[in-house]
């Protein structure tokens, strides 16, 4: 373990599955995490994020597949021989040890000399802005401070890979946003690879180099944050990442890269084919159109729809209107300064709306 110039290690997950009885928590997942990359596992509750992380950490053994870290097969190696840093949701600090003793623990396990330990603990504390807190008891710290101690403990031995399972889940919004920046800075300093579990999409989008969206034990999509938002590959991702309106209808025609979709209310809307199964979009088939609220503008035009009973929703800086489409689906769009609650007609540019074949949304279909 060299000091100072630590490089992150690549993590290669190949065809990994884990089943609990009849539940398949992780289903044939493959993922190449590059050395030094910050990657997030994002997904709803029960999608298998923690299970995948536990297999990387060595607390769960995959039923199938292999996990390699830094090119070495680690699938069955004991957790204490993997040299990974890990931050738990509830911090998991040792309550019978002081702050300094907690941070010294991984160094003691690695038989680092006493003087060296003291220096490195002080250094780690300084890195998380807790210089001078070494003598404190864990219970004397606030939640945010405990989280920093957990970070210091997980990084003091310069692990090439750091795993984090919803590390900020217990903090309030303000502190969470602050810690996001701190974690990001710490990672840059250390150069370590980070695999970060969260179900907060904002967190995943702001912190990550790439985001793996998980659902029902599979990775639905692995993309850079920008692509995830602009080019979702499935209805699930379009819906899960950011706000969107989903309109289900029957395909009328596909011409010049534009799909015309007939809604149950009798309106015809337009969008461009998207997703892995875009070839399956054909006249007569059923499809789902996704349009982001901020791409919708008031006023009639080709493909406009009526939105009834709109109500203003204030969310700080921006104001939205939420009403209902003719067939009773909720529909949301950004309100301009002049817009008022009530009925409205709205439209959008066909290129801004994405149309997915309805069958393409079956959980776990294709990868």
């Amino acid at each position: 373990m060299s000091q100072g110039t630590v490089r992150g290690a690549a993590v290669t997950i190949s065809g990994v599955s884990r089943r609990y009885g009849s539940v398949t928590a992780v289903n044939d997942v493959s993922l190449d995490v590059r050395a030094g990359e910050f990657i997030s596992l994002l997904g709803p509750s029960g999608s298998g994020k923690t299970t995948l992380l536990m297999m990387i950490a060595g607390f769960e053994i995959p039923d199938d597949g292999t996990i390699a870290i830094g090119g070495r097969d680690m699938t069955r190696v004991d957790p204490n021989h993997r040299n990974l840093g890990m931050v738990f949701q509830k911090y998991a600090l040792f309550p019978h040890m002081s702050v300094a003793e907690n941070i010294a623990f991984p160094l003691q396990m690695r038989k680092v000399g006493k003087a060296d330990i003291a220096a490195r603990v002080a250094d780690a504390l300084a890195k998380v802005q807790l210089a001078g807190y070494g003598g404190r008891q864990i219970t004397q710290l606030s939640g945010g401070q405990q989280q920093r101690v957990a970070l210091a403990r997980a990084t003091v031995f310069n692990p090439p890979v750091i795993l984090m399972d919803e590390p900020l889940g217990a903090l309030d919004k303000k502190l969470r946003e602050h810690m996001q920046i701190e974690i990001k800075q710490l990672q840059r300093q250390l150069g370590a690879t980070v695999i970060y579990v969260t179900h907060d999409q904002q967190e995943a989008l702001t912190m990550s180099d790439r985001v793996a969206v998980m659902n029902h034990g599979v990775i639905e999509q692995l993309s850079a944050p920008r692509d995830l938002y602009d080019e979702p590959q499935s209805i699930f991702v379009a819906d899960f990442v950011g706000d969107t309106n989903l309109l289900t209808g029957t395909v009328h025609a596909v011409e010049n890269g534009i799909v015309a979709l007939d809604l149950p209310g009798g309106e015809r809307v337009f969008g461009r084919p998207a997703g892995r199964t875009r070839e399956a979009i054909a006249p007569g088939g059923s499809a789902v159109l996704s349009i982001r609220p901020e791409k919708v503008r008031p006023g009639a035009g080709p493909g406009s729809i009526a939105v009834r009973g709109g109500e203003l929703i204030y969310a700080g800086s921006d104001i939205s209107i939420v009403g209902q489409t003719r067939d009773g689906r909720p529909f949301k769009f950004r309100a301009g300064p002049a817009d008022a609650a009530g009925d409205a007609t709205v439209s959008w540019t066909a290129g801004d709306a994405l149309v997915f074949a309805a069958s393409g949304d079956m959980p776990g279909a294709g990868r």
Partner: protein, 283 residues
């Protein structure tokens, strides 16, 4: 408003505990105080019974034996009980239930019944002797009943749950992710136990040790039944004074010494625990 509410609440709760206090005073503190104080009056203040106690080797030996049997009992209970508590805390589903039942069922059985069952096992023509003879390990039956060994085994059996349950409950209270964190940070299984699980279970250990030691020190039924005249313990001697010799004053003197010993142990333990908390634990 809140002040009145609180004072009514306080008064109401005093009302609720009054029957208990009355029962305790009349059925517990008063007779005990009576017994203990008798040892000091003859009918004027006198320490004659304490002089007897002090001067006779027999009682020194009885107290010494009581203490060493209690200590041994504690050690055996700890050594046997800790792994059982650990297994109970770890096992889930039916396995955990089976272990828990093995610990609790004896607790629900009368001490008398359990002591009789040891007589049945250990006597001259008892189960253990017969089996050993049939297997050819011994020629003649061994003297097992009425020995210190028998007392120790039977007492351990009776007191074991008092060690297991507090340890189990502290082990259960340790968040499982602490062990995961230790493993992740480079500790093997044994090191994780030594550095994390064991220290965090110490409060349960001291509660269990205190329980078992204090209970063992004054134990009566079991030593009286499976022990003989050569293995007299203090509880048995006190009972003899009362029921056979009708010497209430001497029984009171013995009881006073026992009580002082017990309180001493409790206080020393409390201190040791407090010191340990201060040095190692959160204040």
């Amino acid at each position: 408003m809140s002040a009145t509410g609180a004072s009514i609440g306080t008064r109401a709760s005093w009302l609720l505990v009054t029957p208990l206090i009355v029962v305790l005073v009349f059925a517990f503190f008063w007779p005990i105080a009576n017994l203990l104080s008798r040892s000091f009056f003859n009918p004027d203040f006198s320490l004659d019974k304490y002089e007897t106690l002090w001067s006779q080797q027999l009682y020194w030996r009885v107290f010494g034996r009581s203490i060493w049997i209690s200590v041994a009992c504690c050690v055996i209970c700890l050594v046997v009980g800790y792994p059982v508590a650990y297994a109970m805390a770890r096992l889930t589903g039916w396995r955990g239930l089976v272990v828990a039942a093995c610990v609790l069922v004896p607790l629900w059985t009368s001490v008398l019944v359990r002591s009789y069952s040891w007589i049945f096992l250990l006597q001259r023509n008892g189960v253990v002797n017969s089996v050993l003879q049939d297997l050819g390990f011994i020629g003649r039956p061994l003297q097992m009943l009425y020995t210190e060994g028998a007392v120790l085994v039977a007492m351990t059996h009776v007191l074991l749950p008092f060690m297991i349950l507090p340890i189990f409950s502290t082990l259960r209270g340790i968040p499982p992710e602490l062990s995961l964190a230790a493993r992740n940070l480079g500790a093997g299984r044994a090191m994780t136990f030594w550095k994390v699980t064991l220290p965090l279970s110490l409060p349960g250990v001291s509660t269990g040790v205190l329980f078992v030691f204090i209970l063992a020190l004054g134990f009566y039924i079991t030593p009286a039944m499976v022990g003989g005249p050569k293995t007299l313990m203090i509880g048995t001697v006190i009972a003899q004074q009362v029921t056979e010799l009708l010497d209430w004053r001497f029984a009171g003197a013995l009881s006073t010494v026992l009580l002082v010993l017990t309180l001493l142990v409790a206080v020393v333990f409390q201190r040791a625990l407090a010191v340990e908390r201060l040095s190692g634990h959160a204040s």
